[in-house]
């Protein structure tokens, strides 16, 4: 017996052929699909209004320059239509007790003030809402309404009301043909009983304002990579037109600064963030694709192009696309107040020169960190985490996706920064381990 989402408060589900996946990004979705395809039931809990994770925010992905939405949306669709998967979005895992074979989970289903089963995602309510607030999905560059859908392919494809911004004018209610909006909706508690748990909580980006010398937050034309993604994304705040935030001009000379919040002992992030070299190169190539005459320079420490097709992509960026690569970690960024251009000070190590290069746009590539929610989950489940806050696995070689607690598995960036292919592989790997555990009631 499986509890239906939004069911009676405290409705019980008991089933040890059920898995809980915490996190609806690409890794969590892969795990959910591969578990569900084997005939087990899956609850997929996601804290934001839609599954899709960070990948939904990206424009193109390396090394193939696949459009992220294009390869992701069929997955979103597959997950939402899968008879064995129940998506619990806009929800948080509050408490977990028990052990493998019988974990008892308390899930908080936050009130989105829209009845999921009635809303058709038509968007009429969004059109009439008079409140505009900065849009988190667009990294605060664009705007959204108080009633909103994070992105067009949001799954579930329903609206959510941000009650903190809602002025309760009721215009949305009046225009909704399905009577789907209820501003008095309350949070609900759902109690689940599952046999195994998959931690797929993803990552958060390093806050680059921790480097005041790079000018983020001070100078308008210093942005970070995720803001850049939204700017070049056709579904983003500028419809995919890459423009400077200070004057809407198209940048002609862009500088990408790597390793901001990675490989830095003094900022508490001594490890490599693994994906920034590649996404930096991808972003640089995208700049060239948008406008082949743009001068594009990447300032780096080492280029970690280690994966399948990555070195070839790096080579293509340099030769075919003409991206400049300067080895040197940028010392500081100053602004030219006349035109809001940036002046980057860096040592070009290969040529033994100190450079002061003027760019009209600077993009910082932030490193990855564990998301804050991971700490709470770790606290609930008592699995080991490493010094940086990532989940430690039981045995790196033999059980690389098993946590130190039987029946609890980890995939995606919750274990450490990783790219999409590796996140997908760990998602499938976790599904295998979870399935075995569900069958045998304990880790093997």
């Amino acid at each position: 017996m499986i509890a239906k989402p939004g069911g009676r408060k405290g409705s019980i589900s008991t089933s040890s052929d059920t898995a809980l996946v915490i996190g609806g990004g690409v890794a969590g979705m892969q795990a959910a699909l591969d578990i569900a395809d084997q005939g087990f039931k899956v609850y997929l809990v996601e804290t934001t209004p839609s599954i899709g994770g960070k990948m939904a925010m990206l424009d193109k992905t390396f090394p193939t320059l696949d459009c992220s939405a294009c390869i992701l949306t069929p997955r979103l669709s597959e997950v939402s239509h899968h008879p064995n998967i129940t998506i619990l979005s806009y929800s948080n895992v509050e408490k977990i007790t028990g052990r493998v074979g019988n974990f008892r989970v308390r899930v908080l289903r936050r009130a989105r003030c829209v009845h999921e089963e009635r809303c058709s995602g038509c968007g009429n309510c969004i059109d009439v809402c008079p409140v505009e607030v900065p849009n988190e999905f667009d990294q605060m560059i664009g705007f959204r309404k108080a009633i909103y859908m994070p992105f067009p392919q949001a799954t579930p494809n329903v609206c959510t009301v941000d009650m903190g911004s809602c002025i309760q004018c009721d215009r949305c209610i009046r225009v909704c043909e399905r009577d789907a909006i209820d501003l008095n909706m309350k949070d609900k508690i759902l109690r689940l009983s599952v046999g195994v748990i998959v931690v797929a909580t993803g990552y958060r980006l390093f806050d680059v304002s921790a480097y005041p010398r790079l000018g983020y937050g001070k100078y308008m034309n210093v942005i970070h990579a995720l803001e850049y993604e939204r700017l070049i994304n056709a579904a983003g705040p500028t419809q995919g037109h890459l423009i400077r935030l200070s004057d809407a001009k198209v940048p002609q000379n862009i500088g990408f600064i790597q390793c901001v919040g990675a490989r830095d002992v003094s900022k508490g992030v001594p490890y490599c963030s693994r994906v920034c070299c590649m996404y930096g190169i991808k972003n640089a190539v995208m700049a060239k694709e948008h406008n082949p005459n743009t001068e594009v320079t990447i300032y780096y420490a080492d280029i970690r192009a280690f994966g399948k097709g990555y070195e070839e992509f790096y080579h293509m960026a340099e030769t075919r696309f003409g991206v400049n690569f300067v080895r040197g970690r940028v010392g500081r960024v100053l602004e030219n107040p006349e035109n809001c251009n940036l002046i980057v000070s860096v040592e070009d190590i290969a040529h033994h020169e100190l450079l002061e290069v003027e760019h009209d746009l600077v993009v910082l590539s932030p490193g990855l960190q564990p998301p804050r929610s991971l700490e709470h989950i770790a606290h609930q489940l008592h699995f080991e985490v490493d010094d940086e806050g990532y989940v430690e696995v039981q045995n790196t070689f033999l059980n690389p996706v098993d946590t130190t607690i039987p029946g609890v598995f980890v995939c995606g960036c919750a274990e450490g920064p990783k790219d999409i292919p590796d996140s997908v592989s760990t998602g499938s790997a976790v599904a295998m381990r979870a399935a075995i555990a569900l069958l045998h009631g304990g880790a093997k």
Partner: protein, 578 residues
Amino acid sequence: MSQEEAPRIGVFVCHCGHNIAGVVDVEKVAKLASSLPHVVYTTHEMFMCADAGQQLIRSMVAEHALNRVVIASCSPRMHEPTFRKAVEEAGLNRYLFEQVNLREHVSWCHMREPEAATEKAIDLVRMSVARAAHLESLPIETVKVTPMALVVGAGITGLRAALDIADRGFEVLLVEKSPQLGGHVAKWTHLFPTGESGAELLAPLIRRVKSHTRIQIMRNSEVVEFEGFIGNFKATVQDRKDGVQREFDVGTAIIATGFESFKPFGYYSYGESPDIVTLAELQEMPPRPELLRPSNSQPVNTMAFIGCVGSREPSKKGHEHCSRHCCFATAKAASDLKDGLEEIVMLYKSLRTYGKHHEDIHRLAREKHVIYSRFPADEIPIVEVVDDKIRIEWTDILANKRLIFQPDMLVLASAMVAPSDTETVAKMFGLTRSSDGFFSPEHIKLAPLTTHVAGIMIAGTSQAAKNAVESSIDASGAAAKAAVLMARGEVEIESTLSEVNPELCSLCHTCITSCPYGAIGIDESRDPPVACVTKAKCHGCGTCAAACASGAIIMKHSTDNQIGAMLEAYLCPVQETM
């Protein structure tokens, strides 16, 4: 859906965000489509693949009583399954749906010519609408999946995959070429980061595999033939010693044939001194309290490593890729060995300590005063062996100086490459290879462990250069893919097959000999006998239909009428009104 009903075609043109609409005037295409014969509904939509798009298909089929659906969007490779499912949910047979590729075939390759691209898009839609009118429903067939997996290769990847599948409850046939289980890892005398030897590390895994009731191990054996289709493969395994062959029916296969360590003859005087070894050779050296020089068994006092040997060489086929595992492996080796050595110098082109704890070990090596020296990519070190002494000369970038070092031992971090028999394996299993020489996954990002051959998975270093931990992850992932198929017990197969019209067949045998899959035989039960197609083996490639001189073979879903309609629509378009 009967053929007698007049076609009622719905045309859905997708913007695909900016991808199509940025070049092609999708509105114009949709508008024009509405004037085409049999079209009763057209629209354009931002993302047809998203839930909203699929919902639209379902609603419009119902609302307009559509019995054919044409979606002008991306490549069928992307979303054909998605759209087929939507169409089926709307109550139509999936073969009454046609996908027009306006992205890979139009907007992406004619980016700078929007007008011409739009004209081409219009042509393609016109052609597909014409074909759609002739589409027929085809029955959906399923086949059973044999609940047994073939795992080729018993390195860490094969072992892990075999164990996972067996624990999951399915039978496994584990085939290993060599006499030993454990692959490369078992030969390593010390491991990173735990310090155990490879054999020690794998021992529990190997023990469990050997004792598992559901795993059948065949050592000293090779797969020599492999045929069939998803869920129903037949593998012929031959013992390398006595040549005895055995056949097995398997439902899925995981190819975990691993890698080969490149022997860098021609690089850095490799081969000219026994003291110049590869990283792999170092990792396999018998464990001793002291590291000894291979040449004279004297203790090593000074050592050098050179990275990227045979890797990252643009335009050298099979050597363009990064071998991924070496930067960390050399850092760990140097860090471990430094305690007993006076000097270790690490010459590198790029430093890729990307993974968990990699930077920690890198820092530890430096703290122990392992000297990291970066050389320019276009000016690699020169190594000479003079009077049995190794002499390395290179330019250190930071110091901007020419340096010389004469170590007792030189370790070359040579490339991880595809094994020499990869082409044979590829042909046998019908796999394709990427430019790096390893097998191609179905999709490099979202499907790294499956291949274009349904039911066959790749994992570990057979897929790409990677380290043992990553291989272990791949193994469980590929096992999951196999488990999914076997757990379901049956899968659908494509109905786009060829069929012989017995009335027209003259039994000339042309089709039988031309079929690359050996899928056509003779139906002796008829008089006169005629050719007949074994559905399960047919790949729908169309070779037989093209070869048949009598026009007796029809390709389901690619009939002469359907193709003919497309040609006619393109060459003789009816005057359209806008």
